[in-house]
Symmetry: C2
């Protein structure tokens, strides 16, 4: 079936995307072929654009289309607050919430003895440099509440102790969360951090 | 955030794929940006190839890169058996099983009074023509075991009755299936069609 070669190749590449397997890649490609004028052409063009222009910010690790991302380039965001996140997707989540007005530092992962990821493999040395260079007054450790995330937070806190105010996101009941569905750890954290009404 | 425009556009287009929502589209795009040399470039190129070359077979509705698909063009597959399926994905599933040696006819959907899909909206008139022109001796109705699929099968059977042998796929317990997890309809169909050992 030589005439199917470009289609098979596309399916194979699509199946490498996170969240898609061989089956859903086939479905997606059939959908794309049906909507080739409306969707496949524009998608191919958009991918070519991103492939050419996307790069990581040399300062913070955010993705964008310039060497210094919009947030690092925006003087209004030099508030002295630096929010440390594991990944660009966490930065995007914070930005969608729209409440943080400072700058970010994307580590690019977490420390992991199992996977052999050391501080030098992440943007931790760069974080130390930025705390000095950008007159940072507060570092907010917004790492995931996983074992690796918390280990990494502890390591960074150790490194920066005494040089800057260190904070972390509050733990508690999520908005709209039902106690019955929450794990014991969250409930006990929420109880310990209870507030007067 | 103008520097994010190409990235946002790509996320918006990716979210239109079946099986991906805004959240998984963001994840997929971040993954693509990280692997832009290995994955994003080739994927963009593969999509451009498919966008340019993919077309539906004028004879059977299968997708390929020529006006007549490989199966219709293959003289060895002129066995007189014609397998009618709803969609190209069903044709691919049959081909993966690798047991059917005849040709296919892709309807492009099912009749549906609710959605206003009439026989002329599907490849049903074309099916009648093919039965004559290609000296078909058996039409296998391999439509999905849904209400719409079975309605369509009945309609086609009515149209072709007396002109050709009409068969449908056997219904029964799937290989590896556990009775406890099967619906009543499947169990009763399997019992009715029971075989001597």
């Amino acid at each position: 079936m030589n005439s199917l070669k470009p289609i098979d190749e596309l399916i194979e590449l699509m199946a490498k995307l996170p969240g898609l397997g061989p089956r859903s890649a086939r479905r997606a490609v059939l959908h794309l072929i049906r909507k080739r004028a409306l969707l496949l052409g524009p998608l191919s063009e958009a991918m070519a654009q991103v492939a050419t222009h996307a790069r990581e910010c040399l300062n913070c690790g955010n993705v964008g289309t310039s060497d210094i991302c919009d947030i690092c380039a925006d003087e209004k965001r030099a508030t002295g607050e630096l929010c440390v996140v594991e990944d660009v997707s966490d930065l995007w989540a914070m930005e969608r919430a729209g409440v943080f007005k400072g700058r970010y530092h994307v580590l690019g992962g977490t420390l992991s003895a199992l996977d052999g990821i050391r501080p030098e493999d992440l943007r931790i040395p760069r974080l130390r440099d930025r705390v000095e260079a950008e007159e940072i007054t507060e570092v907010i450790l917004a790492l995931n509440a996983t074992v690796d995330g918390q280990t990494t937070a502890h390591y960074i806190a150790d490194q920066l102790e005494g040089r800057v105010r260190l904070t972390s996101l509050a733990q508690g009941v999520p908005i709209g969360g039902e106690l019955d569905y929450l794990d014991d750890g969250t409930i006990s954290a929420a109880l310990r951090a209870r507030k007067d009404i």
